[in-house]
Symmetry: C2
Amino acid sequence: MGKVFAEISMSLDGFVAGPNPTLENPLGEGGERLHEWVIRLKSFRDAHGLSGGEAGPDDELVDEAVRATGAVVMGRRMFSGGEGPWENDPKADGWWGDEPPFHKPVFVLTHHSREPLVMEGGTTFIFVTEGLERAIVDARAAAGDKDVLVAGGASAIDQAISAGLVDELQLHLAPVLLRGGVRLFDDVGPEPPRFELTKVIASPLVTHVRYRVID
Amino acid sequence: MGKVFAEISMSLDGFVAGPNPTLENPLGEGGERLHEWVIRLKSFRDAHGLSGGEAGPDDELVDEAVRATGAVVMGRRMFSGGEGPWENDPKADGWWGDEPPFHKPVFVLTHHSREPLVMEGGTTFIFVTEGLERAIVDARAAAGDKDVLVAGGASAIDQAISAGLVDELQLHLAPVLLRGGVRLFDDVGPEPPRFELTKVIASPLVTHVRYRVID
């Protein structure tokens, strides 16, 4: 059985999205600066159906994670495009377009029961109303021997860490300050786990720090 | 002329001190967990007049910084022992003991004019009432060819970054969550500088990330 891992880009001041997200800019003001390191990579462009892109250590790390991942879990706001009045629209098809970049089953946490959405390119959104633990159980089953990625947002990752469901956390530390927005770790609860550093990979645009999560 | 650098230990959730600091525990609840990596080092124990301690990459990094530093700047709360009713006591001698671990001139930001305090072991506390910029100018003069360290707390480092006075910032990222306390970067102002990663050194207890600060 694979592991359950979470990864997310974070600013030096601890934000994983900027302030005032909109449907047009679900990353919030300045939030795109967290992802500058990844959007230029070959592996990222491949997943989005684009040619070209940079190779190197960052790309190898992303490519390795993509290959290892058999299923994804995400919160409903990450599916629907950030925090806003649209997030509870049970009919929304999300903002990931016709061919989302996952190419595997994606288990979406939601309060609204609905049929799976089969998208082009191998992504199927499966809606889970029974909570995070059930979503991870279902994702594990779908992933087989591969890993389950808890992709975000902050709240879903925090809940998964808090519930002891995450084996590995990887932060992509971007050298920027956002000064507002959504923080990781705000919802980890009163007794968060311990973290043990397992790997650091640095490149000019980002520092990847990987931790084993210890209950 | 040397550089002006700031360094501080920070939790994964962005805190540089825990909640509810007291005179007995100025680091706040859990704050000592930020410093576990350093107190075991030979260089740290040397500075505190203690024998023994661990060698290795963390120790080399601290030892190198200690040797390069010619003068220190700190906020009045760091001098007097954290935030609390005692911080404004103009007669307080600080909580660093008779032989503070600096062994060089330390410029303390304060609103209260007073004579320099000459301590054992080469530390002299010099009180600066004309603000941070003046403290750094004076510290530069005292440091000669060596570097000036802005040692903390968070507010002093933030102000120095915001004023464009810091050449290099080094964060010692400890793999712990404090869930409350004092955050770095809360006071960097509306237009913080950019950061360029220059060095990463990882060890099991801490990840040192060093940035050049670009105005």
